[in-house]
């Protein structure tokens, strides 16, 4: 069919366009010299080795992991209980959470940065804590989606009431019954949040700057100085994102009914 071929062509175009920059950058991380030929002249591990021997990079990586996972932890401890309470006991207020989700999604870092700097820069609060707080709120959409998708499949309110009727305390019902049910969806949401935060640049760069050098800021610095090192950083970044994406896909499949994570 003629139209079928037409659509396939667009699909092919899309895949090539999405994959080519990823593959080229990853290959560049291993290339000895690649300015005259179609494929690199030779392959080497020099750049990756150099990157791993750079204490500055290791530290930046550690900071990124610490900051992103810290924000995700806080979000799990603070946002998830709040979502549970509202969904279970005050379902009519759930639209307020949904509105908050849309609002958070509508205000990108570049707008939020203006307000954050304005409010907190004169109080002497460590700005890194401000970014941490903004990160916790920033991942609200993913955490909410992850929790909500799993809650949809079970009648959570009835489960909790039944458990309590059978003598469980509220905390027991919550941790032993509800949490295991939503665990895969929630975990997928947490990993997704982590990967989004790991790639965040706007807030950390504008609000804190090079005083707290994350992987993204390190990469930005290397962009103008060493292409090979920069590509090695991007290589590591892509591998990490690949692992996370795979884990998220597996988890999402397990928590059936999660449609759009």
């Amino acid at each position: 069919m003629k139209k079928r071929g037409f659509a396939d062509l667009f699909f092919l175009l899309l895949v090539v366009y999405l994959v080519l920059p990823v593959v080229a950058t990853m290959l560049y991380a291993f290339a000895t010299n690649w300015n005259k030929t179609i494929l690199p002249e030779g392959l080497t591990l020099t750049w990756l080795a150099a990157l791993f021997q750079d204490a500055e990079f290791i530290q930046a990586f550690g900071r990124s992991v610490l900051l992103s996972s810290g924000a995700v932890m806080i979000a799990l401890l603070v946002i998830v209980p709040a979502i549970f309470v509202i969904v279970l006991y005050f379902p009519k207020y759930e639209k307020w959470i949904q509105m908050a989700v849309v609002m958070v999604y509508s205000f990108p870092g570049i707008i939020l940065a203006v307000g954050l700097i304005r409010v907190y820069s004169k109080f002497g609060v460590p700005m890194i804590l401000v970014v941490l707080g903004a990160y916790v709120i920033g991942i609200l959409p993913y955490i909410y989606q992850g929790t909500r998708n799993s809650l949809q499949n079970v009648n959570a309110r009835q489960l909790i009431d039944a458990a309590q009727l059978l003598g469980a305390s509220k905390l027991q019902a919550f941790t032993k019954i509800l949490l295991p049910t939503v665990y895969p969806g929630l975990f997928a949401g947490a990993l997704l949040s982590f990967s989004v935060l790991f790639g965040e640049f706007v807030l950390i760069n504008l609000v804190v700057g090079s005083r707290f050098e994350t992987v993204q800021i390190y990469l930005m610095k290397k962009l103008s100085t060493s292409g090979h090192i920069a590509s090695a950083v991007v290589f590591i970044y892509i591998v990490l994102m690949g692992l996370l994406t795979y884990a998220i896909a597996t988890l999402t499949k397990r928590s059936k009914g999660a449609t759009n994570l």
Binding site: L18, V19, V78, V102, I110, G115, R118, G227, S231, M241
Partner: protein
């Protein structure tokens, strides 16, 4: 049931965080945009609306966002049509790939395009060698390069938003239409596209907002040289010498209004499609 004290205990940390790191900063930004020493002024907004440079930033951002959204939307409309005919496991793999590339944005994405199309990029050199001259007028570090990068990060988002909308088109509808003598073309023109239209409009607004708020890629590629709204705001708050938080706030407020409008429009029209499906 749940006691009042428990409710407060569970909800208040969340509300405090929303207040501290979302509502208060945004409110304060709004107030700042009207501030002059200790008085009230509309001067910042007047500046925004009369300053050619800032207006150009808005024009550039809007043009870039609209064009990148339209192109990404057109490509994915056809691509999703093709994807829908693949087997289930294949579709899943494609969605995983999409999710992976959706994380590929900001600085890493800008760098990938430098590797491909920068001053000594692979394609730049390749086309040079082949004697193709079209690239001499192309600069990655300006409008053309930004458009390519913006299209790149719009594609996965467009795909993820369009996919469920396409998925809602039932096979029975096609069968029924075919039974009544409609061609595939007629089905899409008279039933498929009209049903999906609010969803497509909604997707377009999300893409538009997504591009309007983007900062990192443009910053990495052109530092502050290409005039976009987001870049303007960034340099007005970061500018160590000429930091102008009041003006930055006014621009940010206008940008925020644009984005919230786009997002609400998309929420409204996507939910309209869902009800129909």
């Amino acid at each position: 049931m749940i006691s009042k004290r428990q409710t407060v205990a569970w909800l208040s940390p969340f509300l405090v965080l929303v207040l501290l790191f979302f509502l208060v900063p945004l409110l304060y930004m709004l107030i700042t945009s009207f501030q002059y020493s200790d008085g009230f002024t509309l001067a910042q907004y007047q500046t925004v609306l009369t300053n050619d440079y800032i207006l150009q930033g808005f024009t550039n951002s809007i043009t870039l966002s609209v064009i990148s959204a339209v192109i990404a939307l057109m490509v994915t409309l056809f691509a999703v049509y093709a994807i829908m005919r693949f087997s289930e496991p294949m579709r899943e793999k494609i969605l995983i790939l999409t999710n992976l590339t959706s994380n590929f944005s900001g600085i890493p994405l800008a760098f990938a395009f430098i590797v491909l199309l920068g001053n000594s990029g692979l394609f730049t050199l390749l086309f040079d060698k082949w004697g193709i001259d079209t690239f001499s007028s192309f600069s990655l570090y300006s409008w053309g390069g930004l458009l390519l990068i913006y299209i790149y990060f719009q594609l996965p988002l467009a795909l993820m938003l369009l996919y469920p909308i396409y998925d809602g088109i039932q096979q029975q509808w096609k069968d029924a239409a075919a039974l009544l003598g409609a061609s595939t073309w007629q089905f899409w023109m008279k039933i498929g596209i009209p049903v999906m239209l609010p969803g497509i409009v909604g997707t377009f607004s999300v893409l538009f907002a997504n591009a309007m708020g983007a900062y990192a890629s443009a910053y990495a590629l052109t530092s502050s040289n290409y005039n976009l709204v987001a870049i303007r705001i960034g340099s007005l708050i970061k500018g160590d010498i000429f930091a102008q938080p009041e003006l930055a706030s006014a621009i940010a407020v206008i940008l925020a209004v644009t984005m919230v409008t786009a997002m609400l429009l998309s929420e409204w029209s996507i939910s309209k499609t869902r009800r129909k499906l």
